[in-house]
């Protein structure tokens, strides 16, 4: 067997349940993301897709079930969990750049404080990453001085600076003006082409079609469909997916 076959999946969720009070937001979810794969999670608002994404690095603790990242079960809160999170990049809907630090300081912070990287090395890596996402000339500005698209690209650079094994995107373009969505999707598409393992919660159907290896469709806390983009967009099996697509694709 080849290495790819014996290695554990990058993300493995088995029978995961999550409640917000009486609300059952994740219902017995089982999902595997093999390394190198790009999985796009689609679904209507309130279907639990963001919660699914946030559960993977335990920003949302789950009530029951197993979540493993790279073969290791999620540790409880503490040093070990911090160690795992350092290997899992996360990009948020609202960017969440540290408002009191410049863009380059945002990117350098975790490599210095978590990886104990030397400041000069961290700065060099940070500038390379900012170059890569096309905002090296904004390095000394503060987040509030940048456009939304620039902020989100900085946030992607910040996550990449930790050299993560897998990247989680929680609706990365939902807070952006339409003309800024593409600059962020371009960065994400490049990342996907380079072989990064990605789980992307989004409403961008174009990205799902072009960059995803797999589409997972969620509704009311269930995974209703798990198919290739081709299959999902041309021949959805469930009534709920058909309904969802008919509402989105007619415009």
């Amino acid at each position: 067997m080849t290495e790819a076959n014996t290695a554990p999946p990058m993300i493995r969720m088995v029978e995961v349940d999550k409640y917000f009070g009486p609300l059952h937001v994740l219902k017995n979810i089982t999902l595997e993301v093999p390394r190198g794969q790009v999985v796009v999670v689609l679904g209507p608002s309130g279907s639990g897709k963001s919660t699914l994404c946030r559960a993977i690095n335990r920003l949302e603790p789950i009530n029951s079930g197993v979540i493993e990242v790279d073969g290791k079960p999620l540790p409880a809160e503490g040093r070990e969990l911090a160690g795992l999170r350092a290997d899992v990049g996360m990009v948020f809907q609202s960017f969440n750049l540290f408002a009191h630090k410049t863009i380059v300081d945002n990117v350098m912070l975790a490599p210095i404080k978590v990886r104990k990287m030397a400041k000069s090395d961290a700065r060099r890596t940070a500038m390379e990453l900012l170059e890569r996402v096309g905002i090296a000339n904004q390095a000394e500005k503060y987040p509030a001085q940048l456009s939304g698209g620039q902020q989100q690209r900085a946030a992607i650079a910040r996550a990449l600076a930790m050299k993560p094994k897998v990247m989680l995107f929680d609706e990365p373009t939902s807070a952006l003006d339409p003309e800024m969505i593409n600059e962020v999707l371009d960065v994400m598409t490049t990342l996907a082409e380079e072989g990064m393992t990605m789980l992307v919660v989004t409403h961008e159907m174009g990205f799902a079609r072009n960059a995803a290896n797999r589409v997972v469709f969620m509704s009311d806390g269930d995974i209703v469909e798990d198919a290739t983009p081709q299959e999902f967009f041309t021949a959805p099996k469930s009534a709920r997916a058909k309904d969802f697509l008919s509402k989105i694709l007619t415009h």
């Binding site: 290997d87 996360m90 609202s94």
Partner: protein, 224 residues
């Protein structure tokens, strides 16, 4: 008219200098202890949260005079606790500062806690997602932003502290209020002037503090 202001007899500047020293030392101590308290108050460890909230409830609701007098009579005279300084005056000076720190830190803590609430949850989430531990999230991301948003309320705490230092006269620390009491007794002819002089003295201390920190507050505000 100002004949009674005999520098040989009344060391007005010296007394206000003691007030300034009490204020500065207490302010530094309260900032440090108040920051530690707020760290405990928001910590994930239940025992720390319990300690901090019990401490704050108890100390914040105790009259300052009781705390200051207790520092001298209970801590020093009864329990034999000693602190820096050889003479009784020095002892009481530092015991008063201890009392002011214990008391003022609770207000610093509560201001900071309000400041923490102004920092969007996403800031801490992003820091945790990058692998920072609790102390790093608090110390590098949350508290620096919290401090910037509470400079104005903290300057109110500092002004209150400046005026609260007058309570130290209750245990014989020769600060401004202690001298005022002596002067009101000896110079009862000029009593209005005596009051006016001390009132003015405190205004001179607190007004620039308020103005300066108001400016700092605008300067360091975090743009979102």
């Amino acid at each position: 008219m100002f004949d009674f202001l005999d520098p040989q007899e009344y060391d007005l500047l010296g007394a206000f200098w003691v007030t300034v020293q009490l204020t500065v030392y207490s302010a530094i101590g309260s900032l440090i202890w108040g920051t530690i308290l707020v760290g405990m108050r928001v910590s994930p460890v239940p025992m720390m949260r319990g300690f901090a909230s019990a401490y704050i409830t108890l100390v914040r609701n105790t009259p300052l005079t009781v705390i200051i007098v207790a520092c001298s009579l209970v801590l020093k005279d009864t329990l034999g606790f000693t602190i820096a300084g050889e003479t009784v005056e020095d002892q009481n000076f530092w015991l008063a500062i201890l009392g002011f720190v214990a008391y003022t830190s609770t207000f610093v803590c509560e201001s900071l806690r309000a400041g923490i609430n102004t920092v969007p949850v996403g800031q801490a989430e992003a820091a945790r997602a990058l692998g920072l531990g609790f102390n790093q999230v608090l110390g590098i991301v949350v508290l620096p932003q919290a401090f910037r948003s509470v400079v104005a309320p903290l300057s109110s705490v500092l002004i209150a502290l400046t005026k609260n230092t007058t309570v130290a006269s209750a245990i014989g620390v020769a600060e401004a209020a202690w001298l005022m009491k002596e002067m009101t007794e000896n110079e009862s002819d000029a009593i209005l002037l005596v009051f006016a002089i001390f009132a003015l003295g405190f205004v001179v201390l607190t007004l620039p503090t308020g103005l300066l920190l108001g400016w700092v507050s605008r300067k360091v505000a975090v743009k979102r």
